[in-house]
């Protein structure tokens, strides 16, 4: 194996530019003649727009143009599309119009009403304040409960009762029958708290129009530039792909929030030809809070039926999910196909039913956020399993073991549509328990008690479905896009390699991981490999990065493209060595003829491909540049077990995480260092959800947590260092045997932390604490118990 090949913790190739301040993020891009945009946004959660007067603002210094919803509507262009149509019990979901600039009504605080374009950002902001919008405020429905109440204010006329869809999976009567024979039923009510993604780089965009070529270019903070080009070009602005280039340069974190096609992208692109100058917009953080799609926001009642031995007989889950004011790009699939299908967890629960009501509210749209549906499912399953263990007096680890899908049962068909590919749940549980010294917990609890602290331990044995696929299946479930990936391996004449990938790296380290695979497969030095992503003018096509798909799907496309390169290179090598193609072997960058000492290096073959003097030109085209599209056969199913141990200060309610151990199965691993980093980051987002982060709207629909003064971002002293390790059962259906690691921490951690909190507080009579388990909430619960 080359030293920088698969399995090595190679230091990241991309780091040099970031640690020297040379990263090129969207806001770092300045185009000649650039103007600046500031959006006028609704201060109301719900209002009728009586009038928009731009006269005074237009006369202010530096103002170039002001455009309103009426201007946009007059051109007959499209609204922001939804990429997934869920069909409920009563037919297709309600899919209301989503104008990029509001015309007659605003539906959440932050809804965009007009855009002011000026010579400087400060002038644009000054003028935006002078745009006079006459609002007639209307009552708002700012929560699921408020939106479903009788007589609730309607978010959209076409969605009576504010219902987007009422969907279910499983046969309820069948599940009820399983419950009828139960020895014990555990019931939990859960809130999966609403989160604000908060990638550290605020969203930004720069759009420009070239009159000579009639080409639009949009630089944007996106996880998937091709998807933005497709959605914005085909559905919103009606621009053909060949005249629309979308570039996602260095992107400062995404976590889902930069998947979606946002209004600002379309409005800037549209306006750029009107002002005939480039336009830049960069969100202020306060703006991000009210425009980036939020995550989670479920209210759930779940029941688990068990027999006398603690075997799961059936699970019923009834969930209400907040969609916000409009359907964001992939919102409808999150609480359905990415949630309810995961409710088997790691267990053999034979009967499962889940009903989901998706609800419109006067809040920011809700969509995928790190984990997207799977953290919500894991939280339901792992909270109810832990609660059942407590109720039945069975050790929580033992109850899980009794119900695990056995390691020899794969592929395993769950009752909720998925076929798990591979796994060893006993293995990750055992490793996590050992790392956490589970057996020593009782002594640690007793010691903590002597110091007046309440100590608790909690497990979370999670499963996730990653690398969303196959296209035909997701299409049948309502996806309006394919979910393959594309990769192009361009071998240059001197043997160096450029890899063009349709995935996008915004922290994941693709420039290193993909280069390792290429170094391994072609035997080239890792420094001879360049990975290019994020530019629709360079990369053939791509679906981007989300759902832990980049390696499982994008890496598989790379592997297939490398197969093609190797096949063609072997034919060239066979010609050079005057041997039969079938006798050519390729190892460590050398082509050899079996049974002889003949060899030719990869570099020589590459040169021959481009300088085809001695070349089988009649059978083979010159060049060595291969593209593959890979459509996965199935999801991958990373799984594992996280164990969290906490101490509560009962006087203040403060929680300290004293230990956190994770054992994860991500299939084969290319770069262990990067994988560990992904797990660390995911865990802290999960800890954030459990203990710190909660997005709060007041009854009028004003965001009460609209800045870091009130929305608690996890900080370094909120968390400890972590013990993370991996177990490996390779994915059997993709060429690299990989499963995906980006979301595991965020999926597993909330349940582990909250199980620990409940374990600590249970003996004091506390039965329910909702996330985030803040000191105030814990103190209150202890006080009330």
């Amino acid at each position: 194996m080359p030293k920088d090949g698969i399995g090595a913790s190679v230091k990241r190739k991309e780091d040099y530019r970031f640690i020297t301040g040379q990263g090129a993020y969207t806001d770092d891009i300045d185009r000649p003649g650039q103007t600046h945009a500031v959006f006028v946004r609704s201060p109301h959660a719900h209002a009728r727009i009586a009038s928009v007067d731009t006269g005074a603002a237009a006369a202010m210094p530096g103002v170039v143009k002001i455009l309103t919803g009426a201007d946009y509507a007059a051109e007959g262009l499209g609204g922001l599309p939804c990429g997934w149509q869920v069909t409920g019990k009563d037919g297709p979901m309600v899919e209301p119009a989503h104008p990029p600039l509001a015309v007659d009504r605003v539906r959440h605080v932050g809804d965009q009403v007009a855009v002011v374009i000026a010579n400087s950002a400060a002038e644009a902001r000054d003028a935006a304040e002078a745009v006079a919008v006459a609002y007639e405020a209307l009552p708002a429905a700012a929560s699921i409960e408020a939106a479903l109440a009788g007589g609730a204010p309607q978010v959209h006329d076409e969605a009576p009762g504010n219902l987007c869809y009422d969907w279910e999976i499983g046969d309820k009567a069948d599940v009820d029958a399983a419950f009828a024979g139960a020895h014990h039923v555990t019931r939990v009510e859960l809130v999966n708290n609403r989160l604000v993604p908060n990638a550290m780089e605020p969203r930004a965009a720069v759009a420009e129009y070239d009159r000579a070529t009639r080409e639009y270019t949009l630089y944007t903070t996106s996880q998937n530039p091709h998807v933005i080009r497709l959605l914005m070009g085909a559905f919103v602005l009606q621009l053909p792909e060949h005249r629309l280039r979308v570039v996602a340069p260095d992107v400062g974190g995404g976590f889902g929030s930069k998947i979606f096609h946002y209004a600002e992208e379309a409005i800037l692109t549209w306006a750029s030809s009107k002002v005939a100058r480039p336009i830049k917009w960069t969100a202020e953080r306060a703006e991000s809070f009210v425009t980036d799609a939020h995550g989670r926001d479920h209210v759930t009642v779940a029941e688990l039926a068990l027999d006398a031995d603690g075997r799961f007989l059936g699970l019923k889950v009834d969930t209400r999910a907040n969609m916000g004011a409009y359907l964001s790009t992939f919102a409808p699939c999150v609480p359905t196909y990415l949630y309810a299908t995961l409710l088997a967890g790691q267990y053999t629960t034979p009967k499962i039913w889940c009903g989901v009501q998706a609800v419109f509210t006067h809040t920011v749209p809700v969509d995928a956020y790190r984990g997207a549906g799977r953290p919500e499912a894991t939280f339901v399953v792992e909270r109810i399993v832990e609660t059942a263990a407590k109720e039945m007096g069975i050790d929580p680890a033992e109850l899980r073991r009794r119900n695990f899908v056995p390691a020899d049962a794969f592929p395993y068909q769950t009752p909720v549509a998925l076929v798990y590919d591979s796994g060893n749940y006993e293995g990750t549980l055992a490793a996590a328990l050992a790392a956490a010294d589970y057996n020593g917990f009782a002594a640690r609890r007793a010691e903590a008690e002597s110091r007046g602290k309440l100590r608790g331990i909690g497990l979370s044995a999670y499963i996730e479905a990653c690398g969303i696929a196959p296209s035909a299946v997701v299409g049948s479930l309502g996806a309006r896009a394919g979910l393959y990936e594309c990769g192009e391996v361009r071998v240059h004449p001197t043997g160096s390699v450029t890899f063009f990938t349709g995935t996008h790296s915004h922290g994941q380290g693709h420039e290193t991981t993909f280069a390792q695979i290429i170094a391994e497969r072609l035997g080239v030095d890792i420094d001879a490999v360049e990975v290019v992503h994020g530019d629709t003018s360079k990369i053939p096509f791509g679906m981007g990065t989300y759902g832990s798909r980049s390696l499982a799907v994008g890496g598989s496309a790379l592997a297939r493209a490398l197969d093609k390169v190797e096949t063609k290179a072997k034919r060239i090598a066979a010609h050079l060595m005057e041997a039969a193609e079938g006798d050519i072997e390729f190892t460590d960058g050398q082509f050899t003829v079996a049974g002889t000492d003949k060899s030719v290096g990869f570099g020589d073959v590459a040169l021959t491909a481009y300088v085809p003097h001695n070349y089988p030109i009649e059978e083979l085209e010159p060049g060595l540049d291969e593209t593959a599209f890979y459509d996965p056969a199935n999801f991958t199913f990373p799984a594992g077990c996280h164990v969290c141990e906490i101490e509560v200060d009962p006087e203040t309610g403060a929680v300290e995480i004293v230990n956190f151990a994770a054992s994860d199965d991500f299939g084969n691993i290319v770069n262990p260092m990067i994988v560990e980093g992904q797990v660390h980051g995911g865990i802290v987002q999960g800890v954030g959800q459990a203990l710190l982060e909660g997005c709060v709207y007041d009854d009028e629909g004003q965001l009460a947590t609209g800045s870091y003064m009130d929305y608690t971002m996890p900080r370094a002293d909120d968390v400890p260092s972590f013990s993370v390790s991996t177990q490996t059962t390779p994915c059997p259906h993709n060429p690299l045997g990989v499963k995906g690691c980006g979301e595991a921490g965020a999926i597993a951690a909330p349940a582990a932390v909250m199980n620990a909190v409940h374990d600590a507080l249970g003996p004091r009579g506390v039965s329910r604490i909702d996330m985030p388990a803040t000191p105030a909430r814990i103190w209150q619960a202890l006080n009330a118990a």
Binding site: F18, D28, D30, G252, Q678, H680, Q685, M713, A716
Partner: protein
């Protein structure tokens, strides 16, 4: 408009700015030193941390005109030519960054700590980072990086 003169990364610079121009805007927009970032508007995230007269400061919470005559150091100014600063090396060696957006502020903040405490404990590093938010790394490797970077700096001075 006021003219402001200061030293940035050892070079004398000047510019005409509005009084309301923040130091970070002066660095990014006037000097095109875009390594210093803006991640929030409440002075909390620390992506904008630079050094002013040798100590860390949030360049989003200073006016450019306040820095008249000051020595300002940004992320672009800490490497010695092609030789990375030990703290930069430590971040790379310990995978102390993912998306890289918070990284310049983290490194500049870390340098202030390392200047005061050549062997900070994990807890000291975590407390010091109160003013620097990272959403990617979970801090685990940032803390490792800073501890290693501080040690490397001390060793470099000793040797």
């Amino acid at each position: 408009m006021p003219t402001v003169k200061m030293s940035v990364n050892g070079e004398a610079v000047s510019g005409e700015v509005e009084a309301r121009t923040l130091l970070v805007q002066f660095l990014r927009e006037h000097l095109r030193l875009t390594g210093t970032h803006v991640g929030c508007d409440t002075s909390q995230c620390g992506a904008c941390v630079v050094h002013v007269n040798g100590v860390s400061a949030k360049s989003c919470t200073m006016l450019a005109v306040q820095c008249e005559g000051a020595d300002v150091t940004t992320i672009e100014g800490i490497a010695d030519g092609d030789t990375l600063h030990p703290m930069q090396e430590a971040f790379r060696d310990n995978h102390g960054l993912q998306c890289g957006f918070c990284t310049p502020g983290m490194i500049m903040s870390a340098l202030d700590l390392a200047g005061r405490n050549s062997a900070p404990s994990e807890q000291e590093v975590r407390e010091w980072l109160e003013g620097n938010i990272c959403r990617c790394t979970g801090y685990h490797n940032i803390v490792k990086s800073i501890m290693a970077g501080a040690r490397a700096m001390a060793a470099g001075q000793g040797g």
